[in-house]
């Protein structure tokens, strides 16, 4: 058996899918369950190449329903288990993840968004935001990190395991086909050497008897009456809302005096960053706001920005899925909302610059 997967830290050059496989190793994940679907296949390809070298396991299941439920089984057995999927596979993944929400089973799912609805394209989109944040027949009791580059894919995949086990909500790392296939450099490292402590896993099923006495557990996700369910969900929601501020992350710059703030997430925020920097150099009062956690959403943070700005420009590779989260977050604000929606298509900084200037012009004309 080889030593630790990563010793110290090193600068490397990889695709996003490989980054996820390495990050899961670094996070001491023990088993992956998965099913082929583009564009996440190489997570499995690299996990299956690497896992046996470090005594870790893999199961290729018959579909994503099974990949999700076997992941839950692995977690219940006390293992750090995870899965990865995309598009129609994410649709199927919502059933097991709603069980995870109801039973508070920590689980980690990596999503590489592709075009939708249906089989659509295998390429790219940001159209899995609504499903990943609020999928399943429930209240969205989950955490969703939307990453923008390979370093973040590495950092947040590691973080996702701790978030899931600490708060016991299913945790998603929301990437996309571009991030999955893009290649760029990043620093990979052993998190423990950096002082990060892993939240220990817990065995829920199959625990050994203590002093010769077995204490069987009985877990369920079914409730008899409306009142009983109401009591449980109310308690879960209270817990969720209580820990949300600890979980919420966002990035912003140049918002203090901005007239227009560009709001975007994930890979699109890279274009937004460049656009905002360029426009600032031209002397325009433009700001940048990016939710990293889409669920829970940085509502208070965005509200503050919205209170100062005249316009929020909502930019995403979907037809208003992030926009819905934004509108919900800033309800009551009188800030004007503009958008640049391109479902299933990438967005360049040039397009954002053009759109901002259009809005500027319109504002002046008034």
């Amino acid at each position: 058996m080889a030593e630790k997967p990563i010793q110290g830290e090193k600068r490397v050059f990889m695709t996003g899918n490989e980054v996820v496989a390495w990050a899961a190793l670094a996070a001491k994940a023990e088993i992956m369950y998965g099913y082929p679907i583009t564009p996440q296949n190489e997570i499995m390809h690299y996990w299956t190449r690497l896992a046996p070298k470090f005594g870790k396991r893999f199961l290729q299941t018959e579909d994503e329903l099974s990949a999700g439920f076997t992941t839950l089984g692995g977690v219940l057995a006390g293992r750090k288990a995870f899965t990865a999927t995309a598009g129609p596979g994410n649709t199927l993944m919502q059933e097991p993840m709603s069980m995870a929400e109801m039973m508070r089973i920590p689980s980690v799912v990596i999503i590489q968004q592709r075009g939708g609805p249906s089989t659509a394209t295998v390429i790219y989109s940001q159209q899995e935001v609504t499903m990943t944040t609020y999928g399943g027949n429930g209240e969205g009791l989950r955490v969703v990190y939307s990453t923008a580059n390979h370093q973040e894919l590495f950092d947040y995949t590691i973080k996702a395991f701790n978030t899931a086990w600490k708060y016991r909500f299913p945790t998603f790392v929301l990437g996309d086909g571009y991030q999955a296939k893009m290649r760029e450099s990043l620093t990979i490292y052993d998190p423990e050497e950096k002082g990060l402590e892993f939240v220990p896993t817990e065995t829920f099923l199959g625990k050994a008897p203590v002093n010769g006495v077995k204490q069987p557990v009985h877990l369920r996700n079914t409730y008899n009456t409306e009142e009983e369910l109401y009591e449980v969900i109310t308690r879960y929601m209270e817990e969720y809302l209580k820990v949300a501020p600890e979980i919420i992350e966002h990035r912003e710059f140049s918002c203090e005096d901005a007239d227009i703030v560009v709001v975007s997430h994930g890979v699109v925020s890279r274009a937004a960053k460049v656009a905002v920097q360029e426009l600032r150099e031209e002397g325009l009062k433009i700001g940048y706001f990016r939710p990293v956690t889409l669920r829970p959403f940085p509502a208070e943070e965005l509200k503050k920005v919205a209170a100062r700005a005249k316009t929020l420009l909502l930019v995403e590779s979907a037809f208003g899925q992030m926009a819905k989260l934004v509108k919900d977050a800033i309800f009551g604000s009188t800030v004007a909302l503009e958008n640049l929606f391109k479902p299933g298509v990438g967005i360049t900084s040039e397009e954002i610059v053009v759109r901002v200037k259009e809005i500027e012009k319109g504002a002046l004309a008034k």
Binding site: G34, Y35, P36, I37, T38, N41, M44, H45, T48, R49, P52, F58, L59, Q60, T61, E62, D63, E64, P88, S118, T119
Partner: protein
């Protein structure tokens, strides 16, 4: 002198040459199917459902009403069509992943309910379209992208025996066979009987076709055929498992 290759009448010329890889068995299965459709004279009555994976490339293959569905869901889609309009002849066309993995519950239940549809499953031992991962039919020891050290039967079992399973869970009226692209005449015969069985209203019809995937097997022409004829047949017996039209006692 130019030779024009003989194409079945039911083929759609505008989509030819087709997009399957050189040496792929799909074209052969679809040729046998096209001829079967021609000989039975049912072109105008067929509703063809194509699954995800390489089988989706058949979405514009025939001049028949066609619907491309989701991965594994072709069986229930055409079941829905057949239940709503028993006069059409429904074909569900899928790969081994679609039929034996993600869509296996649909295959099992359509068979158990004896749906009057014809399911055709192309077995090439891997998920080809996604880049060559392990399929339920991957042979022991075979290297794929998710079994980089070879399929370990202790980890992932033996190749799925599809027709044997369908034969075991269906009762009278079902037709079950396994053909191979290495014997097209026989395969066409099986497909014809499978369609006739539906037309006669007998019950569920299922044909698995052993097929080739040189692209993901990384084999030249000679090794490709050797794999189908020698390796695959070690695990998959070719022949009819159930035929209601056969005489009693057979």
């Amino acid at each position: 002198m130019t030779m024009i290759p003989q194409m079945p009448k039911s083929w759609r010329l505008e989509s030819k040459p087709h997009k399957f890889c050189p040496g792929c068995g799909h074209g052969l299965v679809l040729k046998a199917l096209g001829e079967a459709i021609d000989e039975l004279g049912i072109q105008d009555k067929v509703v063809f459902g194509a699954d995800i994976g390489c089988s989706l490339l058949a979405w514009d293959f025939f001049n028949v009403d066609t619907v491309q569905t989701h991965h594994g869901r072709t069986t229930p889609v055409v079941t829905g069509v057949k239940r709503a309009n028993p006069d059409v002849i429904c074909i569900a066309y899928m790969g081994d992943g679609g039929g034996y993995a993600i869509g296996s519950q649909h295959l099992v239940n359509a068979a158990a309910r004896n749906e009057r549809i014809t399911a055709i499953l192309v077995n090439n031992c891997n998920y080809a379209m996604t880049g060559g991962q392990m399929a339920p039919t991957t042979l022991p020891g075979m290297k794929t992208e998710t079994t980089p050290y070879g399929r370990d039967v202790r980890e992932s079992g033996y190749p799925t025996q599809g027709p044997e399973m369908v034969a075991a869970i269906t009762r009278e009226g079902s037709y079950v066979a396994r053909g191979t692209v290495a014997n097209l005449k026989q395969l066409k015969g099986f497909l014809k009987k499978a369609l006739q069985n539906q037309m006669d209203g007998n019950g569920f019809s299922f044909v698995e076709a052993l097929s080739t995937c040189p692209t993901n097997w990384r084999t030249n022409a000679k090794d490709t055929w050797a794999f189908v004829e020698k390796e695959m047949t070690k695990f998959f017996n070719v022949g009819e498992l159930k035929n209601p039209a056969a005489k009693e006692g057979e």
